[in-house]
């Protein structure tokens, strides 16, 4: 959004750095800073989903919207620790999408209907936590706890069987 140009004198890693486009290009360029395995995988899945052909479901489905994909990735960054399991991402028919984890400990499904409009659900977990379905906007601390539960249990099983 900043209009005036400043010579920073060093490489920029600013929180607010402008995105520079190659002149004449109308393509959006992939630029991420993946630090976790799940992150790179999620970006890859979302890339495919924003490129789906209209009617991919055999009816009139749209590709996942760029806006919803961006919001979904921000949501994942808010809720996944470094060792979170890789989510599975399923498209909806209206540009929406659903992020899913299916583990031996239970299932989590996060339906991103639009930015700030998420229907979150988890099945009964093996530790007895009852199934729950809630609506969220942009504060995902509650579902961070769900993801932690399935992450920790998965690590425990991996460690036990190693």
């Amino acid at each position: 959004m900043r209009l005036t140009e400043i010579d920073y004198g060093s490489s920029i890693n600013s929180l607010n750095a402008n995105i520079y486009q190659f002149s004449g290009s109308r393509e959006r360029i992939l630029l991420t800073e993946p630090v976790q395995v799940w992150h790179g995988e999620a970006v890859g899945q979302l890339e495919k989903l924003v490129h789906l052909q209209p009617g991919w479901d055999g009816y009139q489905a749209e590709p996942v919207s760029f806006t919803n994909a961006t919001f979904a990735l921000r949501m994942l960054e808010s809720i996944c620790g470094d060792d979170a399991p890789i989510p599975q991402i399923v498209p909806g028919v209206s540009g929406d999408l659903q992020i899913e984890w299916h583990t031996l400990q239970g299932d989590i499904e996060l339906h991103v209907k639009a930015p700030n409009d998420v229907r979150a659900w988890h099945s009964q977990f093996t530790d007895g936590t009852k199934a729950e379905e809630i609506d969220l906007t942009f504060d995902f601390i509650e579902i961070a706890a769900w993801v932690k539960k399935v992450t920790e249990s998965a690590i425990a099983i991996t460690t036990a069987t190693a």
């Binding site: 991919w56 399923v90 379905e133």
Partner: protein, 120 residues
């Protein structure tokens, strides 16, 4: 009625040791009047067309079948909504909670099965 199941709707579930259909396959479109698209088998066959051929053309996609009566028992409405691309198109409307979507999966049976994939 027939609901097409794209491979984009398939997820891996270690609890069944393989792939199954996501709940998203039984979700409506957004918007105040959004419904879940279906193909009306009776109308297709009434027009003298093989239903399995119809729902796998021009692109092969798996599909499941549900009984209209079962949907109505779940308090869902089914209606005929032809489109330019599909004269046998119908829609299902209602409140698609997670519980409802799981019930729809349980009530479904394969019509054009996807190999090695479970419905539930």
């Amino acid at each position: 009625m027939i609901r097409r199941i794209s491979d984009k709707y398939l997820v891996v579930d270690p609890k069944i040791g393989g792939k199954r259909i996501s709940s998203m396959a039984f979700s409506p479109s957004s918007g105040s009047n959004g419904g879940m698209s279906v193909d009306l088998q009776k109308l297709i066959e009434g027009a003298g067309i093989d239903a399995r051929t119809f729902v796998t053309t021009p692109v092969w996609i798996g599909s499941v079948r549900l009984k209209v009566g079962d949907l109505r028992k779940e308090k869902l409405k089914v209606g005929f909504e032809p489109t330019k691309a599909n004269q046998f198109h119908g829609e299902v409307w209602g409140n698609f909670t997670m519980e409802k979507k799981e019930r729809l999966k349980e009530l479904s049976e394969w019509f054009v099965p996807i190999e090695d994939v479970s419905i539930v």
